[in-house]
């Protein structure tokens, strides 16, 4: 007997095992679907609750700190390009890529008073595949309301952002006209090690209640270090 013949014999046997299988009532499937929607809803509600707590906790840290152009880890913070909003960063509570929180601040200047108090937060977690996933959140006060969050990953040792893992804007918690697209790392990014530099080529144009980003503006750098 050749393989084809043998396979067809065993396929017939396999088909036979389900000939008297009970087909669950359609209601059972619908109930499961409804339950799953509830489960997903509850998970999102729990995540939103945790996010709210995180914002409150981080908000209580250093909100009075004056904007600085000097990295607390010794790296230099690049000058803002053109009219781009300028992000600077600081480390809170440990190492990037581990249990730490990397906080990236929007540096308000005289021309951008609406940026005061606005912060962009990255929450890194180590994934099972060795990559780091980050939750990005931008929260603000005053005229800028809402926040944006999403996840992007840095490949281990490569540092390429996976842009398409961001949710569509309408799935975010803010009226964003487009998702947040940081895209590359250099020179040899190793999250959790020294001198991984993440570059996001966008400028932030903030309007009351609406967060809009474009990728045609200046370059914003996040310098990541565990020193």
């Amino acid at each position: 007997m050749n393989l084809d013949t043998l396979a067809r014999v065993h396929a017939e046997e396999a088909r036979r095992t389900v000939t008297s299988a009970r087909i669950p009532a359609i209601d059972e499937i619908i109930r499961r679907g409804t339950r799953r929607r509830w489960s997903v809803g509850l998970v999102w509600a729990a995540l939103a609750g945790m996010a709210a707590v995180a914002v409150v906790v981080v908000g209580s840290l250093g909100t009075d700190t004056a904007p600085s152009t000097v990295s607390p880890f010794g790296g230099s913070i690049p000058e803002p390009a053109g009219d781009a909003a300028f992000l600077e960063w600081s480390m809170q509570n440990g190492r990037i890529g581990r249990e730490g929180i990397l906080e990236v601040r929007l540096n308000a200047d005289e021309d951008r008073p609406e940026l005061a108090g606005v912060r962009l937060l990255l929450y890194p977690t180590l994934q099972s595949n060795g990559a780091y996933a980050y939750q990005v959140r931008i929260d603000g006060t005053g005229d800028l309301c809402g926040f944006l969050e999403g996840t992007f990953e840095i490949d281990r040792g490569v540092g390429q952002f996976l842009n398409d893992v961001f949710p569509a804007p309408d799935e975010m918690n803010v009226g964003a006209s487009r998702p947040f697209f940081p895209y590359i790392c250099e020179p040899d990014p190793k999250p959790g090690t020294v001198d991984a530099v993440l570059i996001a080529p966008f400028d932030l144009l903030l309007e009351p209640g609406v967060l809009t980003m474009s990728n045609s503006g200046g370059t914003v750098r996040f310098v990541v270090s565990n020193d």
Partner: protein
Amino acid sequence: MQPVDSESGPGEVPVVSAREPFERFYRREYRPVLALAHVLSGNPSSAEELTQEAFTAVYQKWNSVENPEGWVRTVVANKARSSLRRRYAEVRALVRLGSAREMTVDSLPAETAHFWTEVRRLPARQAQSLTLFYLEDRSTAEIAAILGCSDSTARVHLSRGRRALADRLGMEAR
């Protein structure tokens, strides 16, 4: 007969009209999909769980999914591929057994179980291609549509799978 989209070409998985009631689709496809899940998971109780999960997923996207017949198989193939999901399905099935619900899928005869175990030991795509080819008599175009790859890739999976399986079983591929 199921309503079929007239734009489906020969060799493609027929596109079921969105106007077909979900229940009719469900009743028609449940057992074939269950057999697929049984072979791919190797466990009758997991198979029921995976099948119901897959139909639940289709139900939730019923209005937007274009090809539910192919899509439900894609879901089963992907879910059966993950050992973690398989174990989760087994646990859920055990819980269900604990609640004294009757299992209605027969176990495979020993020789048949051995054959499909050898199929599952192949790389996942080869195992899925072989299963869809032999169990469901799918063409390579249909297999490609379900696995989300090109027709030529499906042919390669099938050809390599056949050769590897024949080697394992000590027989000729044809």
